[in-house]
Symmetry: C2
């Protein structure tokens, strides 16, 4: 610490993202990236944009991207906010809707960026314990003083809360904002987007990083009532007028225009997820019923940490969280079939040696 | 306003960027963009990166870009922070170094984003009046309670404060951070970067948007003592792990590797600036001695607002600020020689009609 740091800089407890190894022979199953490339239309659109005016500022309101997202989700452009990845959208949402001094709620097992934002912006929070099977207790989120945020499906558990229960959380917090972080929703059965026109306190946040294979492009978005979107725009325009560069805008627009490709990719990943879930179960892993592009697994016999380290030695990265009650679990991103075969083969070898 | 808005959302007074017209037949001299394209190496590097893994998250610490910037400015990677445009870097700097309750200082005529950040983060500020010729009074910035920020060269005045005076402001604020916003410094004679190793309280912020023609790519950076850079990294990692996408990183790296191109572009703009300054002076405009890629001008006879509107009617956009004491000035970006000839011709026609 330095005497020049503000109290905000001092109290911050930065998020630690998953490793991004420079080695190219590593099988990365640790940060929930999509194993398939983005739609070919993305590269074409970026190449075209590259031939235009990189010297000019991007459109500050990103109208074209907001419009195509609005069309995709059957809402209006005024219901759409776009940002530099869903993390930035979430940061603006914490600023716009949560208040220092008013306690917000999120699950105790959840995306570990939430307490980071809360600490940064001095927003008190209470964590709501998940049940022993990691499902959320809907009622525990009712009547929150300062607001609610949770991922659906949840990370790292991979579990989805049924839409009716999301609705009941929103309905039972009529005076505060409920943020549903749907980073993984395209691999799940239902999204809360269809509720945004009915509830002025519901903000749904999504990303192009997972289902659209654009983690490297940094484009996230939020869908909600026009008044909520206005508040997010106010935050952005008080922070950084242009958060999306010209190439990211062009690429994201192209991706939303090629829904067929996205759908196909999602179906492939869901098929692989189903297959690897069966295989892992046969190896006596407990696999939570995933609605995401990763699985969350535990073994009755082997330490998760041991498996994590031994996989890492074999150049396979998965995610391990060293804190109870999830310290006996591994979060494993769904790769291609070939990648998961390699993963499985390696895992079997490790287990055989451990026995 | 909505009952769901936080006090931060309510008190925010968003920045209003210059117009980005969709029409392509407009001569844009309003947002200080570079009239020349970026180095051809930028497009090549982006095209190459596009063939790689857009599906993967970018490197969160942007080491490669920080390294090439460090080399360019003869500092270490630990002295370099990179962000999504210098606006984002400035936002993180306000968070990291300025404190609610401790009054900061900046000039009364300056970049209009500073009061926006201060209001957003609830940091009190006092504006220091510039002199009648728009120069800064160095001593007025001494012993600030909460810190100091000023652009050098200043915007929209185009004037530069000599390095010795910058140094005296830094030396006379030993307990707070002095942020020198050098967005336009490549068009000036001296940068404060050479001071960063000597003063632990000096942060120099620069951008690729102006001299490097990369406004559309959103890459800014800060140079300073390692402890200051650490604080900025803490802010970023508490807000958004990956603020620069893979293409922006690749493009910016290529730009810094092609210094020759940047130097040439800068020299062309400085030559045009010199020429247009003479021409405008002959038209009886008062032109401030610019060290930027724009000129700040006033006419003894014609209203700035009238000239702004009439130029706009002729599809030429310049920047007009409707508040005293600069409401008789126009800020005009330096375009190519051809563009400035068209501007001048149109301006002469307008003036002739007004006479």
């Amino acid at each position: 610490m330095s005497k020049f740091w503000s109290s905000m800089a001092k109290r911050a407890t930065p998020y630690v993202p998953g490793e991004q190894p420079k080695e190219i022979n590593v099988l990365k199953l640790n940060t929930n990236e999509n194993p398939y490339p983005p739609s070919p239309a993305v590269a074409s659109a970026i190449t075209e944009e590259l031939g235009k005016d990189l010297r000019l500022y991007p459109p500050p309101n990103a109208e074209d991207l907001r419009e195509v997202i609005a069309t995709t989700y059957d809402v209006t452009t005024e219901n759409v906010f776009v940002g530099n990845g869903s993390d930035e959208v979430l940061a603006f949402a914490f600023m716009a809707f949560f208040e220092p001094g008013q306690t917000i709620r999120f699950p105790d097992i959840t995306y570990s960026f939430y307490p980071v934002y809360a600490t940064l912006f001095d927003i008190p929070y209470e964590t709501v314990p998940v049940q022993r099977d990691f499902t959320l207790t809907t009622e525990s989120f009712y009547q929150s003083e300062g607001g609610v945020i949770f991922p659906n499906p949840n990370a790292p558990t991979s579990l989805s809360l049924p839409l009716e229960e999301v609705k009941s959380i929103v309905e039972n917090n009529p005076h505060t904002v409920v943020i549903v972080d749907e980073a993984y929703v395209d691999f799940a059965q239902q999204s809360a987007v269809e509720l945004v026109n009915d509830y002025p306190n519901l903000l749904v946040v999504q990303t192009t990083s997972k289902s659209r294979s654009l983690a490297g492009l940094r484009v996230g978005y939020a869908l909600g009532d026009e008044q909520l979107i206005q508040a997010l725009i106010r935050m952005k325009d008080s922070f950084n007028s242009y958060t999306l560069d010209r190439l990211a805008l062009a690429g994201a627009i192209a991706s939303f225009k090629d829904q067929t490709y996205t759908e196909k990719t999602i179906q492939k990943i869901i098929a692989t997820r189903s297959w690897i879930t069966d295989e892992m179960t046969q190896l006596r892993f407990h696999v939570l019923p995933s609605e995401t592009n990763f699985i969350f697994v535990s073994h009755e016999q082997y330490e998760a940490n041991t498996l994590y380290n031994q996989l890492k030695e074999k150049n396979i990265l998965v995610r391990y969280f060293d804190s109870p009650p999830i310290d006996q679990y591994l979060r494993i991103t769904i790769g291609t079939d070939e990648e998961m075969q390699l993963f499985l083969k390696t895992l079997k070898e490790i287990i055989n040696k451990l026995e």
